[in-house]
């Protein structure tokens, strides 16, 4: 929709061209959220369309996803064959409520910065042990683990004007086996629970990432595949009974049920010996 309160637009070629931050400014990436509802507090858009951040960079250390990488570009990413965990990319894109047409405009960074519980790009980068690079308005870039980026429903660690620049997915995580489970209350609807398990084929450990069912991602690490009971206890210890996210897309009880149900399925799947097709 038209953002009628917006009266100015800037197209910097680098974020440094924006000297100071104030209320009323908004970074414009894909724009698919900004333009989806009135933004009466916003008077100026700062277009990130000319900053030239690479979308996807493959290196021996892993994959760097630029914050302005379109979801459609990420979906089409062809990973090196040994990165078997890259299967999660398409699974997470398909878990988004948004149509593929939205993927053509929306960015990976935008989905992460929206910080909604069902933000599947968050699920992806947390499950693959991502590291976020943030550009504060002043001072030097800072890095933090993707698991610490989202702090609650629609809240995150970004300070006013601070940018998410990129997310680094380490090769060590991309080499892992994965198990993915997702469900919605309505067919093709918003995720009520999205769980991912990863396991290092050599170490046979388990890293379980719980998203959508909780206001922010929760992650449980095990040195070896735990027993069903040990897994249940670990979830119980990490997420209190009232720690599930209730909204029109599912009650807390439903999401709690899905969490335990899928967690056990993931545990069982990754406990089985690896089968090569």
């Amino acid at each position: 929709m038209n953002l009628n309160t917006v009266t100015a637009l800037h197209h910097p070629t680098s974020a440094a061209e924006i000297p100071e931050w104030r209320n009323g400014l908004a970074w414009l990436a894909g724009g698919t959220w900004l333009f989806s509802e009135p933004q009466p507090e916003t008077d100026t858009l700062i277009d990130l369309g000319h900053v030239g951040w690479p979308a996807l960079e493959v290196s021996p250390s892993g994959l760097d996803i630029g914050a302005t990488c379109r979801i459609a570009e990420l979906y089409r990413f062809e990973a090196p064959q040994e990165w078997i965990a890259a299967l999660l990319v398409r699974a997470c894109c398909n878990a988004l409520l948004a149509s593929f047409k939205i993927w053509n405009a929306a960015t990976v960074g935008g989905n992460i910065c929206m910080s909604l519980p069902a933000g599947a790009m968050i699920s992806l980068v947390v499950a693959l042990e991502g590291w976020c690079t943030l550009w504060p308005r002043d001072g030097t870039p800072r890095e933090l683990s993707a698991i610490d980026f989202v702090t609650g429903n629609h809240t995150n660690v970004l300070r006013p004007g601070e940018l998410l620049r990129k997310v680094h997915l380490p090769a060590s995580a991309l080499l892992k086996r994965t198990a993915f489970r997702q469900a919605s209350l309505t067919k093709l609807g918003r995720s009520a629970a999205l769980l991912v398990g990863t396991s290092d084929p050599a170490r046979r450990d388990l890293l379980l990432t719980i998203t959508a069912a909780t206001p922010r991602p929760a992650q449980l690490g095990f040195d070896e595949i735990p027993s069903a009971e040990a897994l249940r206890q670990a979830i119980k210890a990490r997420i209190p009974a009232d720690g599930y996210f209730a909204d029109v897309h599912g009650s807390a009880a439903y999401k709690r049920h899905l969490t335990y149900h899928f967690a056990e399925q993931i545990r069982a799947e990754l406990a089985r010996p690896e089968t090569r097709a």
Partner: protein, 414 residues
């Protein structure tokens, strides 16, 4: 605040656009989306359904890639080739997908069709194997998904309109060609010189009395033409229901009321030369409310001590307008004679169909003094009667040429 104007890269002047292979220069507003920009330049095929990226009625292609034009900043289309439904057919030949929608008659009202065709025509072979997923960004509210799947499968169900054999045949919607080419004109698909826009300020309270509406700041917004509150409109009750017999519904509504009874009820209206000015001015109205007691549960609302919502002398008692009881035959006798009696209380809620075409009206006065109203309604004559009742007009002075999606669906004027 002014120093931001010195930052580099600010848009100045116009940009180069190419829409349906027509090149032109234009300067979209900084916060303008591509959908309104296209419509402003005469491409009405980009429809407004939700205006929030969910319904897909505004789907267009940018360099061949389908996007929801309501979410794309207009400036981003500069330097790219934009294709709307009007540009899909080439050299007088319909695009195969337009032809497929015609053959399968994959629409009723056709309001979703432009976006549906633009999406379907962009699907690759893999996407076509899972249509619910591929088309999740396109809503059809006439429930025509099966017919749309037919179109994609190449099913032909429309029959020829041949003399002597037309009766009982599956004939095409008479607007079919216009619908699949984006030429069908829905309520808002007209360009009118000097059109004014009306925006409504809505209540943030569930129940409140309006004590005062301060207009000073709002009135000073450039482009504002008029501001209306309950004090400026006829104090005449009417019903918003549209039944031929107006006596079957309670007359419980004023055009603008001094009491609001739900969050979102209209409080005041601002008319301005642009939608933006009307929207900004409506936010600047200063309304003083006296908050009144609220009730949110229908059963609680029927209790004797419930806050009274209407005091217009039209209710049977309390908040109850009328009790309706009925039976067919003699139910007491039937129960007495029954071998088994099951008792239960059943309730149902109101359902809104959520039609895709937005509510809206365009009104003007012709030189002969007649008021013309173009409105999205299936009940143009009732709308005419209501307007006459509220504003004390004669029926011959009000003309309501409805041209809505609902009307096209009904295809009454064939």
């Amino acid at each position: 605040m002014n120093d931001i104007a010195h930052w580099t890269g600010q848009i100045a002047g116009t940009l180069d656009f190419s829409v349906n292979q027509r090149q032109f220069e234009a300067g979209p507003e900084p916060g303008q989306c591509l959908r309104t920009f296209l419509r402003e330049h005469g491409w009405f095929g980009a429809k407004k359904g939700c205006d929030a990226g969910d319904c897909g009625a505004c789907t267009v292609w940018v360099d061949g890639t389908p996007v929801h034009s309501c979410l794309i900043p207009a400036f981003r289309a500069a330097g790219h080739e934009v294709t709307t439904i009007e540009g899909l057919a080439g050299n007088g030949e319909l695009h195969p997908m337009q032809r497929a929608f015609l053959n399968a008659q994959a629409f009723q009202c056709g309001f979703c069709t432009a976006g549906m065709v633009m999406t379907a025509a962009a699907l690759d072979a893999e996407q076509r194997t899972d249509l619910p997923h591929a088309l999740k960004g396109n809503l059809c509210r006439c429930s025509g998904y099966r017919a749309i799947a037919d179109a994609l499968a190449g099913v032909r169900c429309a029959e020829e309109d041949a003399a002597g054999r037309a009766c009982g045949a599956n004939l095409r919607n008479p607007f079919a060609e216009a619908i699949v080419t984006g030429q069908a004109r829905y309520t808002m698909d007209v360009a009118i010189q000097g059109l004014l826009h009306l925006k409504v300020l809505r209540s943030p309270h569930a129940h409140a009395r309006i004590l005062r509406v301060g207009r000073g700041q709002a009135a000073s917004v450039p482009g504002v033409v008029a501001i209306f509150t309950w004090e400026d409109v006829p104090r005449r009750l009417y019903s918003t229901a549209t039944h031929e017999d107006h006596l079957v519904d309670p007359d419980d509504t004023y055009v603008l009321d001094n009491v609001v009874r739900f969050v979102g009820q209209r409080v005041a209206a601002v008319v301005a030369e642009t939608e933006a000015a009307a929207e900004i001015a409506s936010r600047l109205l200063e309304v003083e409310y006296e908050i009144l007691p609220t009730v949110f549960d229908p059963e609680a609302a029927m209790r004797p001590d419930a806050p009274l919502l209407h005091d217009k002398g039209i209710t049977a008692y309390g908040n109850v307008y009328v009790d309706i009881h009925g039976e067919v035959g003699n139910t007491a006798q039937g129960f007495a004679a029954a071998d088994v009696v099951h008792e239960g209380v059943y309730s149902t809620s109101r359902v809104q169909h959520v039609h895709l075409e937005t509510h809206g009206s365009i009104a003007w006065t012709e030189a002969d003094g007649r008021v013309h109203v173009r409105t999205s309604s299936q009940a143009p004559f009732i709308a005419q009667q209501k307007l006459c009742h509220i504003f004390g007009l004669r029926a011959r002075d009000v003309c309501s040429p409805s041209e809505s999606a609902a009307d096209l669906a009904a295809s009454r004027r064939c």
